[in-house]
């Protein structure tokens, strides 16, 4: 139990405090909220650097600080904080990128009257994300995870008065919620089998050897290992949050939120949380590798989903017209790459790509933000164009980001991290499909980025808004420059020649090997990048589109394919048709069940009650009363008849007496006899 790790909780606490200040601050307390947010992020960044420094002191150690949340039954529910190189790096990345984006949004959101609320939500998001990063207990991670989902809901729906934003926010929350349910079930299953959710707990943490051992050996029906099932369930959460194949539909719609939000959440940090989670529980995911007989391995599924997402994201990005949606699909594709890297067994490559991606994708988004800001919220690339000369700084930094993303060799970080992934994919013994998907992705990425660049920056402005766009203020361009430097510098941390990052993350020294050793694959990828750039330039660079209405060269070449990709492969309609309709059917069923079956039963009982009531009244009045009445009537009649005998005639009485006496006597005489 490392005492210094105890102060680790300060990192998420500072932004949370800023969020508190933000929401308490009055609407016009703009300076207060923004100042608090930025100060908090700065503080978090400083603390993260300390933490990273502490973690790097002994890269293989997992410094842990566990504490009791509340007692339950004989034991207690315990949470914990964890510090190791992975956490340290993520903390630094999140807080650095967050800080830059906060500064950027000072300028971007300046005109918005809900400025304070924006910074409050941003700080809330940063706090939640940092909580996910520092968590040693999957439960604490899950709490941060859901709060990140809440923050993204609030931020996507920041301009809630626009129905589209509201719908996007709802879609994002629901889709990620579906993934989170899988995560919850995995969590609960893990908690039940191992009795604790702490990752590292002095030997009996979830990721520690002997617990993992029996998790892997515990075989369920169908030969599936318990760890596989749990791993897959947790992967559902990652799929939801990181926008992987089945649950990626919310990410493009999330672009409804302000651009700094897209940059921070839907490029750098939140979507990366899924990858971070899988990297965090990599030992658990890899636990079933040993079981040859197991029908499915977690990592194979991850690799498969990653490859599919990478390819699909890149393909759809080619046919989009909205500036931010192109970048969104590019993010989906890059996340696919990271998942692919995880799947093929090298979580270090995934994290390396995550870090580099965070910087250049944030750069691209902020660049797009400054473009949109300058062009009065015009996002359609067909209406932009010719922004190269008026917005020189944005153009320069944007092109640095574009080259980093496409993986222009040697200089840019994207190249090295993508190279590491492709290298890992090539060494994967299960199948080479992910490798081919990756390579295809490289080409497509290069193509759509050049298309974007040509459409937005080259040629002549195609709309009045684009015409008098002017360069964004310094407060927006300075973060761009810093990110551009990061996009370049970060690559050199993990080159094969000097694998500093890999050794820090894995904890043991990774042998440096010369560039040439994996040369073949590297050469192939360089060629592919070149072809992508060339094709993009050929189609969009040479003959620049003159007017907004001019149709897209690619659309002319393959109209139906272009339309299909433009419509995001019609996945939204597919989901609406299947899940949507199932949902409404279930709801209708529930209501019908309630009204007719249970309500009907109660109604029947009520009517049955009424029926018995009326029968009872009928029987009661018709049968009993009437019976009594008639009997009493008859008795009265008889009474009246007898009374006529009382004539008042004394003689009559005497006579009757005499006659009666005689009759009796006769009877006694004749009848008796004995």
């Amino acid at each position: 139990m490392e005492p210094r790790v105890a102060y680790l909780w300060l990192i998420p606490a500072l932004p949370l405090l800023a969020a508190g200040v933000g929401c308490v601050a009055p609407r016009n307390g703009r300076r207060l909220a923004a100042g608090a947010a930025i100060a908090a992020m700065l503080g978090a960044l400083v603390l993260s650097c300390f933490a990273l420094h502490l973690a790097l002191a002994d890269p293989s150690a997992h410094l842990v600080y566990n504490f009791r949340w509340f007692d339950l039954g004989n034991g207690a529910v315990r949470l914990g904080l964890l510090l190791d190189p992975l956490n340290g790096l993520m903390c630094v990345m999140v807080s650095l990128v967050g800080l830059l984006i906060f500064i950027f949004s000072l300028g971007y959101m300046d005109a918005d009257e809900n400025f304070t609320r924006f910074f409050c939500f941003l700080s809330l998001f940063a706090a939640a994300m940092l909580c996910v990063v520092v968590a040693n207990s999957l439960l604490l991670l899950f709490i941060g995870w859901e709060l990140v989902g809440l923050a993204s809901y609030l931020l996507i729906g920041f301009w809630f008065h626009r129905p589209a934003a509201a719908a996007a926010a709802k879609k994002a929350f629901i889709t990620t919620r579906i993934g989170d349910l899988g995560f919850l079930l995995g969590l609960v299953w893990l908690y039940d089998t191992t009795g604790s959710l702490l990752l590292y707990d002095g030997g009996n943490g979830v990721l520690e050897s002997h617990v993992l051992g029996d998790l892997a050996t515990q075989v369920l029906a169908g030969g599936l290992a318990a760890s596989t099932a749990i791993g897959l369930l947790i992967f559902c959460g990652a799929v939801g949050k990181s926008g992987q194949f089945p649950l990626h539909v919310w990410l493009p719609d999330a672009m409804e939120g302000p651009t700094p939000v897209s940059a921070l959440i839907h490029a750098a940090t939140m979507v990366a949380a899924g990858v971070f989670l899988m990297a965090r529980i990599f030992p658990l995911a890899a636990a079933d590798q040993g079981l040859a007989a197991a029908p499915v391995h977690v990592l194979t599924v991850v690799a498969g989903i990653g490859a599919v997402t990478a390819l699909m994201g890149a393909a759809i990005a080619v046919a989009q017209h909205d500036l931010k949606r192109i970048l969104a699909f590019s993010t989906v594709s890059q996340l696919g790459y990271m998942m692919l890297a995880l799947g093929v067994g090298s979580w270090v490559a995934a994290i390396f790509h995550l870090l580099t991606h965070a910087f250049f994708k944030a750069l691209l988004f902020l660049g797009a933000g400054s473009v949109i800001h300058a062009a009065h919220h015009e996002q359609d690339i067909r209406n932009l164009g010719g922004l190269r000369s008026p917005m020189r700084a944005t153009y320069a930094t944007f092109s640095v980001g574009m080259m980093a993303l496409t993986g222009v060799p040697f200089v840019f970080s994207g190249f090295w991290s993508k190279e590491a992934i492709l290298h890992a994919a090539s060494e994967w013994n299960v199948s080479h499909l992910p490798l081919y998907a990756g390579l295809a992705g490289v080409v497509l990425t290069a193509f759509y980025m050049t298309r974007l660049l040509c459409e937005v920056f080259w040629g002549a402005p195609r709309s009045p808004a684009a015409a008098h766009a002017h360069e964004s203020p310094a407060v927006m361009t300075v973060p761009l420059v810093v990110l551009a430097v990061g996009a370049v510098a970060l690559g050199f941390l993990g080159t094969p020649a000097w694998p500093w990052l890999q050794s820090q993350l894995t904890g043991e020294a990774v042998p440096a090997h010369s560039l040439l050793e994996g040369g073949g694959l590297m050469a192939l990828s360089i060629v592919l990048v070149a072809t992508g750039l060339g094709a993009g330039w050929a189609l969009y660079g040479r003959r620049l589109r003159a007017t907004a209405g001019a149709d897209d060269p690619l659309a002319a070449a393959a109209p139906r394919l272009f339309a299909f990709l433009g419509a995001r492969m019609k996945l939204d309609e597919l989901y609406a048709a299947t899940v949507g309709r199932l949902n409404t059917f279930a709801a209708a069923l529930a209501v019908i069940l309630d009204r007719w079956v249970w309500g009907g039963a109660v109604g029947f009982l009520a009517r049955f009650g009424e029926f018995t009531g009326s029968v009872n009244r009928g029987v009661d009045e018709g049968g009993l009363n009437a019976g009594f009445d008639s009997i009493s009537e008859r008795i009265r009649g008889a009474g009246r008849a007898y009374s006529r005998a009382q004539t008042g005639e004394t003689h009559g009485y005497l006579r009757a007496l005499a006659v009666a006496f005689v009759v009796l006597a006769l009877l006694a005489l004749l009848g008796g006899g004995q």
Partner: protein
């Protein structure tokens, strides 16, 4: 012994029958008193002197007097006594009833086995009767006493008239 009995019986029945058939009330009452004397004689014959004495004292003495008073008090007009046509049918019916009754009773007696050994006339002294009355029958003696007084008062109240008017006027 039975000759005397028969004689007494014939006398009593005769006077009784005559009493019932006489037209005039006074005669009926007097004849009836005669039959009461016959009955007293029978008591004597049977040996119950005290009973005979009581019979004579009460019936012949008191009740006949009461009857006479009643007859005298209620004889306002002569026509009361003319038996209306309705009484003809009634008389016939009455005789029929009486004869039937007598026939039945006599038949019962004839068939009944009332044979009894000849026994001397039992004597009962007044001391014995007193002892009996004051012994087991003391209660009934008192009751009879009360009965008599109540009857007396009742008779006086009834007869003395219901309203303030003088006796004899219509209510």
């Amino acid at each position: 012994m039975t000759a005397v009995l028969a004689l007494i019986a014939l006398a009593t029945i005769g006077t009784a029958a005559a009493a019932m058939t006489r037209r005039s009330l006074l005669h009926s009452v007097l004849l009836l008193t005669g039959s009461w004397v016959g009955v007293a004689a029978f008591y004597l014959w049977a040996g119950a002197e005290f009973a005979a004495f009581a019979q004579v004292l009460i019936y012949v003495g008191a009740i006949s007097m009461a009857l006479l008073f009643a007859v005298l008090l209620t004889r306002r007009s002569r026509e009361d006594f003319a038996p209306g046509p309705a009484s003809r049918g009634r008389a016939l019916y009455a005789i029929l009833a009486g004869a039937a009754l007598a026939g039945v009773l006599l038949a019962a007696i004839a068939r009944g086995s009332l044979a009894v050994a000849p026994s001397p006339v039992p004597t009962v002294t007044v001391r014995q009767l007193g002892g009996q009355l004051m012994g087991p029958h003391a209660a009934s003696l008192l009751v009879v006493g009360v009965l008599l007084t109540v009857a007396l008062i009742g008779a006086v109240v009834l007869a003395a008239g219901t309203g303030p008017g003088k006796p004899g006027d219509a209510p």
